[in-house]
Symmetry: C2
Subunit: 278 residues, 2 copies
């Protein structure tokens, strides 16, 4: 792929644009060395001075890092990682790392949910909550949450400003978000999302969506969260051999809280299980 | 947000474009009802005939479904789901559902890995493997894999055409992919990826990246897989209470395979554990 010598754009900008595209597409991942100047000259059919100007432009944009006597490398992105296997909300994950996540509430009012939210929640009597989460003053994600209205009476926008919805559900309503299934997609930003997240319309967003049930396995929330693709990475641990043991808060038939769990015996059993399995 | 009456594009195309953007951005998710004709007329400040033409265009593109006497809804996308918590490869996940995943090998040759792959594999003596996975003749994902060269002597492209890399590693080399950590990102397609995946440059792709270790906890592969955003969804189960018990294939100090596992005793222990925990 060469450059367009008859186009109106300077050659160095064309070279820079091609490399920028490969960096943003992760085709040249963070930490990867840029091809040598000689290799880039040959690939694009341009002079070394053109390549130097292109790379200088990428360095000025913070996309690559030039190092004395060593290859230029793709810069690590300024991004936040999110463990998506935990029901723990974004707020708690940031708080644990000592980072402040701010939240502005854009909307909280009764509204009919879309079909997937309605199917999960089992009701159309819902509150629609729209929030923007920010770190260092810059938006990180836009979150739309549907809550069964009868489970959160009196919920006010100011309760959720710079606060955690999950914490509020637990402390004010005794509802603990425990588990659910999530879907992850890449989508293109529409105008509303691009405006709210300070990105370009049509650009990629990382979407996390799903329902969460409470400690009694009752549906508690359905949410759709769009994340800035340049700021957020989801981490997932995978294995073909992990067996999960759900340690639930159980209830008896009358809905009474359970008696104390024999944790010492449980620990012994887990230890023996480990030995039996080698 | 109204329409541009002095622009060169017909009003119905402008209305259709705004709605298309919201559908593709998941702001109007699959299953959601489109606002009523009256609401759309008011929002865009256009006549009902313009709205009808716009919605007819979306229906012709398969983005919405019109139903006699009921609201028009956003169509479910034609997409494939991938469980990302399992080390099981895409090939096996499709085979289990009776779907045929085809694979073309675009490149297999010795090459130096980028920094993250090198750090994980602990060597720069690697093979670079580039594959396109297709379902129904249409590309689903583009996968770049780095393998330690000394662990897969004699590996040929034809061994991997329409085949599973993980299966081949297991049967031909005795190397079983067992676990790892994955990162999930949304990225914009560059020209190479857009061409290989039949999408638009700059459009969203769903990226899955990470390293996998084998049954002896040795690094086996590092891969980056770009997925078509309109065809692939990742499913993840989340919980704040799941404790994992890793049932590993153990080895003794001499690296000998382990003796038989007492599965009956293991099952008893798990059962008692369940009772103890309520």
């Amino acid at each position: 792929m060469g450059v367009d010598r008859r186009g109106s754009r300077p050659l160095h900008q064309q070279v820079a644009q091609a490399l920028r595209q490969e960096i943003l597409g992760h085709d040249l991942p963070p930490g990867a060395a840029l091809p040598s100047e000689a290799a880039l000259c040959e690939r694009f059919g341009v002079a070394r001075s053109v390549v130097r100007q292109a790379v200088a432009g990428l360095a000025a944009d913070g996309l690559v890092i030039r190092r004395q006597g060593r290859p230029t490398v793709v810069a690590p992105p300024a991004e936040y990682r999110r463990l998506v296997q935990r029901a723990t909300g974004l707020f708690e994950q940031f708080a644990r790392r000592g980072q402040e996540l701010r939240t502005t509430v854009r909307r909280l009012c009764p509204a009919e949910p879309p079909a997937p939210a309605r199917a999960f929640l089992g009701t159309a009597d819902t509150l629609q909550l729209e929030r923007v989460r920010l770190v260092d003053g810059d938006p990180l994600s836009y979150v739309r949450t549907w809550l069964p209205a009868e489970r959160v009476p009196g919920l006010r926008p100011e309760d959720l400003t710079d606060a955690s919805l999950h914490q509020l559900l637990t402390t004010a309503y005794g509802l603990r978000p425990v588990r659910g299934r999530r879907q992850v997609r890449a989508v293109a930003a529409d105008d509303m999302l691009a405006e709210a997240l300070h990105t370009e319309p049509g650009g990629p967003l990382l979407l996390l969506e799903g329902g969460t049930t409470d400690q009694d396995d009752r549906p508690l929330e359905w949410f759709t969260a769009w994340h800035r693709a340049d700021r957020v990475v989801f981490d997932i641990d995978v294995s073909d051999t992990v067996e999960t043991v759900r340690i639930d808060a159980p209830r008896d038939e009358a809905g009474e809280p359970p008696g104390p769990v024999d944790l010492a015996r449980a620990r012994d059993l887990v230890a023996e299980l480990g030995r039996v399995l080698g």
